[in-house]
Symmetry: C2
Subunit: 413 residues, 2 copies
């Protein structure tokens, strides 16, 4: 179609007065309705005790109840001694971990991060906007690292952390990375495990948000980081984060931080000042409906069956609509909540703008990059989970129309 | 009794091999069993929506659901526009507020607190050990302020905050103050409302932990701080904290911060980086069992009837055991979770030690003072809520015996 035809098609979409939102990785109402049993997992006083007999209604239990630590440990492939159970938000645990590091030394003999004149985090891009927001909030400089199909550019990472003491951290989503959907290869994980940072207080923020969130029957495999790092005496380098937000309830799940026993001890020393303990009743509810790891895996299959068709609808639309259009590609991940649409340089922002004018909200172009700047203005994050299949069919057609119109506009200049 | 007789009595206690704990203000199993209905307040998918229709299972709602904001506002006597609902811990909100102030300016045109060479908090004493622990954790200098029956020494506070720009905060428990049990008088609140701090980024941490926690039919009245401060344009000076920890479940209640709409906006700007939102399902459960303020008041009567006899048992024992013993007094508050036993100078620590050796754990002497130092070594915090009445009868007799022995030991030197 030429510019005129595309404009005509776009105006037809506009006339529909649509109101669609494909902006966030939010589970759908159908998904959150699949764990109704969580609401009635603990219903009477006699039921409120953990396996060690602790009263989950009362104060105490800073690191969480045993059965929840065990379950989260199994999900991440680590022992309970590596786990502190948090509240309902792993984002909050990441924020807290950075905040704590700003004011208290991450490692013996180091200063708190806020006492350095300048510190930096490495940010594989495209990445997760809320990671970058934490850095921006605390005034931490961000350095872009290209993210490929097998993980971030390890040559660049190794060389930067080995030479630059101001680099204190890196944000990683090692499995089904938001928004590409790729998983770090065994080789990438091995190279992370062997990192030799110049800064003694450098840490890897390993956000394993999609650890069990497969979308196909050929899921990716991620090598467990602590056993790998242990081989090189490097366990202390990693803070891992996860939650049941996209397993049970996004708003009322259970989060955790995983770390070496040495780091766990350091964190608990600070945590005991911060709180008397997180919500143990909700931990108990979770461990009652998930008696073992396999129960969680079964629940994830339920989610997969709801989400997979949604990705498919968009893939099919894109295949049809972008046929013959140059420089348009998209990732097809085996799991997670997102995939990435790559457009010709300089057309992503305009596409988002056109979508918005026609009633479709998608993640702002640039949001997956530090400071909101996609240097090539070419990447769009596609989040299929929340809308219904019918809405997605319309939304993806509209999105394709907007992208093609943006491309045509650019080419006509 | 003389020293020999007291030693004999003490050894008899010791021979009993007791194991009693009266160290923390923890609600008893009987108390937490009074809100069983909270467990089944939300039991099916259709039930999971707030009054505005928001799905409490899913992401969103940074400041909490309407009905919970309204309820907490009514409890504190402020409008919903003054409330942000938190997670299960008001301590965590206080910690977060201090942590945030360390790294981000509390007020326009000011530096973050951590950028000053030295900052101080005023600490009415005796006070709450966890407040002091937060200051110690962040390296904030603490200055003792005497606490009287009608509140802290306001002359001292007014003069210090007006003249010393390094003073950035004060910890207040304005009602049934932990551990004296006193309530700030209307005059004290009025003077707080009119404070003219030299530091623009000075804030009052108004920990209203016991706002509805009466123990008698003649409860204390606390003047509401925001309406009072509003008269003098001083609303921004106050951060108020409260929770349902001692109304429903200590481990799984709902907390809140109350502040001026201007401060609420500042806090939300930071909070949106920290989390996607707190647990709304638990907020919904709470607002389902407490449809209005009166429902909360009714629940507090239930608690009162359980706790009051426990205080009574100890008072009666003390009256009998300390009869004729010089310089021993105790407070008899109208509410809260504690009262304070005052012993002759230099005997509190020794009393705690003797208790411990005989199997009774009480709050360490000094814990109610910054840096753990009671300059007179005379104050003990009594926490009657958790043990059973039978245990309290024994514990209070043992405690009296230990105190008298410590006094006799001192006098014999």
């Amino acid at each position: 179609m030429n510019l005129i035809e595309l404009q005509k098609q776009y105006n037809e979409f506009k006339a529909l007065g649509l109101k669609l939102d494909m902006s966030r990785g939010k589970p759908s109402p159908e998904q959150v309705s699949t764990v109704e049993r969580l609401l009635t997992a603990v219903t009477c006083n006699a039921d409120c005790f953990s396996e060690t007999g602790s009263d989950c209604r009362n104060y105490g239990g800073l690191d969480g109840i045993n059965e929840m630590k065990r379950l989260l440990g199994e999900m991440l492939g680590v022992g309970s001694d590596h786990i502190i159970v948090g509240g309902n938000s792993s984002l909050n645990l990441m924020y807290d971990t950075v905040a704590r590091s700003m004011l208290h030394p991450v490692e013996d003999g180091c200063k708190p991060w806020s006492k350095y004149e300048k510190i930096s985090f490495l940010c594989p891009v495209p990445g997760y906007d809320r990671h970058f927001a934490i850095c921006e909030f605390f005034g931490i400089n961000m350095i872009n690292i290209p993210l490929y199909e097998d993980g971030p550019d390890m040559d660049m990472i190794e060389s930067l952390v080995a030479s630059d003491e101001t680099i204190k951290g890196i944000w990683c989503v090692p499995k089904y990375a938001n928004p590409l959907g790729c998983t770090y290869s065994a080789e990438t994980v091995r190279r992370f495990a062997q990192l030799k940072p110049k800064a003694k207080d450098f840490r890897v923020f390993w956000d394993n948000a999609y650890v069990l969130h497969d979308l196909t029957d050929t899921p990716d495999e991620l090598v467990e980081i602590f056993s790998e790092a242990g081989k090189y005496g490097n366990e202390d380098l990693f803070f891992e984060f996860a939650s049941t937000s996209k397993i049970t309830y996004p708003g009322s799940g259970v989060s955790c931080i995983a770390a070496s026993p040495r780091n766990i001890k350091r964190i608990l020393n600070a945590l005991k000042v911060q709180t008397i303990g997180h919500d143990k009743l909700n931990q108990l509810r979770h461990s009652r409906i998930f008696k073992c790891y396999d129960d969680v895996v079964a629940q994830m299959k339920v989610h997969m069956n709801i989400i997979r068709p949604k990705f498919q609808i968009i893939y099919e639309t894109f295949e049809k609509e972008f046929e013959g259009v140059d420089d348009v590609t998209w990732t097809i991940p085996n799991g997670g909540y997102f995939f990435t649409l790559s457009l010709p340089n300089g057309t992503a922002k305009r596409t988002v703008e056109l979508c918005k004018e026609a009633g479709l909200i998608i993640t702002p172009a640039g949001a997956m990059f530090p400071y909101g700047i996609d240097p090539e203005d070419s990447k769009l994050r596609i989040a299929p989970s929340f809308p219904s299949c019918e809405e997605l069919a319309t939304a993806s057609e509209l999105l394709a129309c907007c992208a093609k119109l943006a491309i045509a506009e650019k080419n006509s200049k």
